[in-house]
């Protein structure tokens, strides 16, 4: 990881040097202007990529930040005589704040709804700025102190300034990519509920991403105003501005810091060259040629040029992404009490969906160190119970205490932070990450730094016996391996309690035995296990205690041998055949 990051830092440095050399070589003010625009649009596209490329929250509205930055610099200079040297940093602050203001309500939406809502912000701002009377604003020419107001006769100065912003944007992107920030965003992109359940505070990371993204976009918009000298709502809040970073990033490759740069380097000069060459000959044809070129290239490289080139030329990544140093044994952080205290206590839990009472006055006690099973027919409310415990759902009634702490009302990542891990009925893997990365995402909660997180992840993989698959992509795993990986992700931050939701479902007989051993071992290591299961036989062999749910009510609780003899349970859930077998066995 270290060496890769260092190498990419060198690449950034090399790119900066090359751009500087190019700007020295080209003498035409026109090419210098185009080069400046390439760099500025690359910064906007990188800003977009930090939010949308990594987290998957597509923004059709980055013109909002760009335009606010541009107007901050322009109006600051006109009204307050504020130099762009201060105006551009201020534009970054304004962009960041706008990110917070926009993100706060908009992150309630997901997918297409988020994208469309984002589209509305720049369009609304466009009208607001028109209404405010800022339809054409021009940065005053400062003949007395041009340098103080960033007004250079030599266009190369703007190239250098824009290059400075690009280096900042690349450095920020690199830092994001190589830290838990980027990992958290990638996890959100691939499976947000799983990320939340694995202890990632998805809200906080998304807010950070949009603020950072807004700040970078605002900063670039500020310099854009200085370069263009005339700001109109259409030129900074228009649809074309919002579309530009998307097009550049999709073309170059989303989710990687070089994608937006490649997109800008190819497409911005291409469009401008077409305008220059064809604009006066066959007006309008430049747009057609530009569109066709993009379509053809995207047909050839659907995920963007960068990924295509990487797949073709880069060696497949054989070594694990993260350093392969020997894993020191992870010390258990908290001493386990030997006596069996009540660890998880549910009192009077109820929740309704419309008219359906999914859980009704459920009392449940899980004792520290036990292996507790929950059974019940389909629709009994088992998974709902887990969702209430881990914070996906807020109960209408009742309270949940964990180790004496109140758990009710906490968000999933906060529940996870308090020491409850969970798996899902349908495995929620981050399929485009390696097994190790999947587990590292889970480990962040319990780790102070990224290095510790990796060590904890390796330890967790060891515990479930999946260490040899650490470097495999999660997308290619078998069901058994996926179940184990998810278990490792839940175990990585050393929780006191894990909730296993039908971990045994869909497994063959041979695989089953292996997983049961792992679960038993986990319990022996001191972790309390609460497991939902259908496979009765396996459960009887596995658990210390049973709770039986039916129609949202807890109808019985006790040791397995008691439960299998309980008439209510047999009638409600297990059926006559089971009762016969039990009777026979007793006889």
């Amino acid at each position: 990881m270290k060496s890769a990051a260092a190498r990419r830092r060198w690449v950034i440095f090399a790119v900066a040097v090359v751009v500087l050399l190019v700007s020295l070589v080209i003498r035409s003010a026109y090419y210098q202007l185009v080069l400046t625009q390439v760099l500025l649009w690359a910064v906007l596209s990188l800003a977009w990529n930090i939010l949308s490329g990594y987290s998957g929250y597509f923004s059709f509205g980055h013109a909002a930040f760009w335009g606010l930055g541009a107007y901050t610099v322009t109006l600051g200079m006109i009204n307050l005589d504020l130099t762009p040297w201060l105006g551009i940093p201020l534009a970054a602050i304004v962009g960041g704040l706008a990110g917070a203001v926009i993100g706060y309500p908009t992150f309630r939406l997901r997918g297409h709804y988020f994208a469309l809502a984002m589209l509305a912000y720049p369009l609304a701002m466009l009208y607001v700025f028109q209404w405010l009377g800022y339809q054409e604003v021009s940065l005053p020419m400062k003949r007395d102190a041009p340098l103080l107001y960033m007004q250079f006769a030599d266009q190369r100065a703007y190239v250098v300034l824009a290059l400075g912003l690009l280096v900042v944007a690349l450095a920020v992107s690199l830092r994001v990519e190589n830290s838990r920030f980027g990992m958290a965003l990638l996890a959100i992109k691939q499976n947000e509920p799983a990320a939340e359940a694995a202890g990632i505070d998805t809200w906080r990371w998304k807010m950070r991403a949009i603020m950072l993204s807004g700040a970078l976009a605002g900063m670039a918009g500020g310099l854009y105003a200085v370069v263009l000298l005339v700001v109109t709502p259409e030129s900074v809040f228009g649809m074309l501005v919002s579309a530009q970073p998307l097009i550049l990033a999709l073309f170059g490759g989303v989710g990687n810091l070089w994608g937006p740069v490649i997109g800008a380097v190819v497409l911005v000069p291409l469009a401008e060259g077409l305008n220059g060459e064809l604009g006066d000959v066959l007006p309008g044809i430049q747009g057609v040629v530009y569109g066709v070129a993009i379509i053809l290239i995207i047909l050839g490289a659907p995920e963007g040029v960068y990924w295509r080139l990487r797949d073709r030329f880069a060696k497949p990544r054989s070594a694990p992404l993260i350093s392969a140093e020997p894993v020191p044994a992870v010390a258990r952080s908290d001493a386990r009490p030997t006596d069996r205290d009540d660890l998880l206590v549910l009192r009077g839990i109820g929740i309704s969906f419309g008219g359906l009472r999914a859980l009704d006055n459920v009392d449940l006690v899980v004792r520290e160190g036990s292996l507790h099973g929950i059974i019940g027919p389909n629709g009994a409310g088992k998974t709902t119970l887990f969702n209430v415990v881990n914070g996906f759902l807020a109960p209408d009634a009742g309270e949940i205490r964990f180790g004496g702490d109140q758990l009710t009302g906490l968000r999933p990542n906060q529940v996870c932070r308090r020491g409850i891990g969970r798996t899902f009925q349908v495995v929620r893997a981050f399929s485009r990450m390696t097994v190790l990365e999947n587990v590292v995402v889970g480990a962040f909660v319990g780790a102070h730094d990224d290095r510790a997180a990796e060590q904890m992840a390796r330890a967790a993989l060891d515990r479930v016996g999946l260490a040899d698959r650490a470097a495999a992509m999660a997308g290619g795993l078998t069901t058994r391996e996926l179940r184990l990986m998810e278990l490792a992700r839940a175990l990585a931050p050393l929780p006191r309690l894990v909730l296993l939701d039908e971990t045994l479902a869909g497994l063959g007989h041979d695989d089953l035995g292996g997983i049961l051993d792992v679960i038993r071992r986990v319990r022996e290591e001191g972790v309390t296990v609460l497991i939902i299961e259908h496979t009765m036989q396996a459960m009887v062999r596995l658990v210390d205690e049973f709770s039986v749910l039916d129609h949202g009510r807890l109808i019985a609780a006790g040791r397995p041998d008691e439960i299998v003899r309980d008439r209510r349970v047999i009638e409600a859930y297990l059926g006559r055949r089971w009762m016969d077998r039990v009777t026979n066995a007793v006889a």
């Binding site: 003010a29 026109y30 009377g133 109109t232 060259g273 220059g276 007006p283």
Partner: protein, 413 residues
């Protein structure tokens, strides 16, 4: 499988071809040629206006060269270099920068129709000391203290201030009576709002006009009935229409017709050359436009008949609008300035424009009033022209010395 590389190669080839398009175009500096520029939107939403400008400029260049080119430079030919300002200020600015980089011998130019484009373009030309003529009328263009921009249109502020007094004069000339009441029907977009603000802030009182109906709406208009009902019941002497969108114009004019207020029965006054385009006629119809008066910075007037005929024959356009006329005149102003400068030198050409006071010749015949600029590059002593739709054609009707037809204020039918 075999087709995919081909497609990729084709795509990559296209991209390369596009980039190769950025080749350095060497300036062809011939001694018997003087180069001037036109930067106008030739693609995008304003392409039509740019095309009209190009028609006017092309015609002027041809005439100048047929008549012997620049005499002061031994009959050097005038060459027009055209750049597409596209659909954004960024593209307009790039076009200006590109022209200047590729054509270091340019001595002057015209552009860029839309005032925000002109603002961006002149930021570049000012620094390169290239004299630019423009028909854009935003006050800001000549309000920045620039030395190399020359605005042939009266500024927006001037037009707003002069439109109503001129309309009152027109009414008095046509009917012998001064109107006493006015109605205003407008949308709340920027241009109408800034046009109407000084009127509401005491401007109307000064003119002795009583505002009897004042309707402001947010475009787009879905139904004009309530607006026009109020206009009908309050019966102003005339109605000031400040609408920026074509569909709203159509709705309002149709509704006025339905309420029997059209065709000169209620005098309608507007502002701006968009109210006189052939497109407006094809969309709204000559019938509904009949009688509509609009103030405009430049419109063919008395003395231009022969030139307009040449333009119509050459281009097939039904009449000449401000776009073509101004671009035609700009070329003649540049020609005149080069003659006076006696050199293909942009600074000397700019000086010559600043010093000129033309009252005769093709340049002077392309603009109302003398060709004389103040230190900011604004023209002085420019009368406000009014054109009126008469029998399907917008013709200049005021002031009388420039009029091609008599105006009518009220038409009884």
């Amino acid at each position: 499988m075999r087709r995919r590389p081909t497609r990729r190669e084709f795509g990559a080839g296209l991209a390369l071809a596009g980039m190769a398009g950025l080749r350095w175009r060497p300036a062809i500096a011939q001694t018997n040629e003087v180069r001037v520029a036109m930067i106008a939107p030739l693609s995008g939403p304003w392409a039509r206006q740019g095309q009209l400008m190009r028609m006017g400029a092309d015609m002027a260049i041809e005439e100048i060269n047929e008549k012997g080119g620049i005499k002061a430079l031994g009959g050097a030919k005038l060459t027009l270099v055209v750049a597409d300002a596209g659909d954004s200020t960024e593209k307009a600015k790039n076009a200006a920068q590109r022209l200047l980089a590729q054509d270091p011998d340019l001595v002057g130019g015209t552009g860029a129709w839309l005032s925000s484009f002109t603002l961006a373009v002149t930021e570049v030309t000012e620094r390169a000391q290239l004299p630019m003529l423009t028909l854009s009328y935003s006050d800001l263009i000549t309000g920045r203290g620039f030395k190399y921009v020359f605005q042939t249109s009266p500024t927006a502020g001037h037009q707003a201030a002069e439109t109503l007094p001129t309309a009152m004069q027109l009414a008095e000339t046509a009917t012998g009576k001064r109107p006493k009441t006015i109605g205003i029907l407008m949308d709340n977009t920027a241009a109408p709002m800034s046009f109407a603000k000084p009127l509401r802030d005491g401007g109307l009182e000064k003119l002795g006009l009583k505002l009897v109906v004042d309707q402001v709406f947010t475009p787009p208009l879905s139904d004009a009935t309530p607006l026009i009902e109020k206009v009908r019941s309050s019966r102003p002497d005339f109605l000031l229409l400040l609408l920026s969108a074509m569909p709203d114009n159509k709705l309002v004019l149709e509704k006025l017709d339905e309420f029997k207020l059209s065709k000169g029965r209620l005098p309608l006054v507007g502002n701006g050359s968009p109210l006189g385009t052939p497109e407006l006629k094809s969309i709204i119809g000559a019938d509904l436009l009949e009688g509509l008066l609009f103030s405009v910075a430049d419109w063919p007037f008395k003395g231009d008949e022969e030139m307009v005929e040449r333009f119509k024959k050459r281009t097939g356009e039904p009449w000449m609008t401000q776009d073509g006329l101004s671009a035609y005149g700009d070329m003649w102003i540049l020609k005149e300035a080069i003659e006076r400068a006696g050199a293909a030198d942009r600074i000397k050409v700019a000086d010559a424009i600043r010093a000129m006071n033309l009252t005769a010749g093709p340049a002077a015949l392309s603009f109302p009033g003398p060709i004389r600029f103040d230190e900011n590059g604004r023209r002085q002593d420019v009368p406000m022209i009014f054109a009126q739709w008469q029998n399907g054609v917008p013709v200049t009707v005021f002031p009388a010395e420039l009029a091609l037809a008599k105006p009518y204020w009220l038409k009884e039918s």
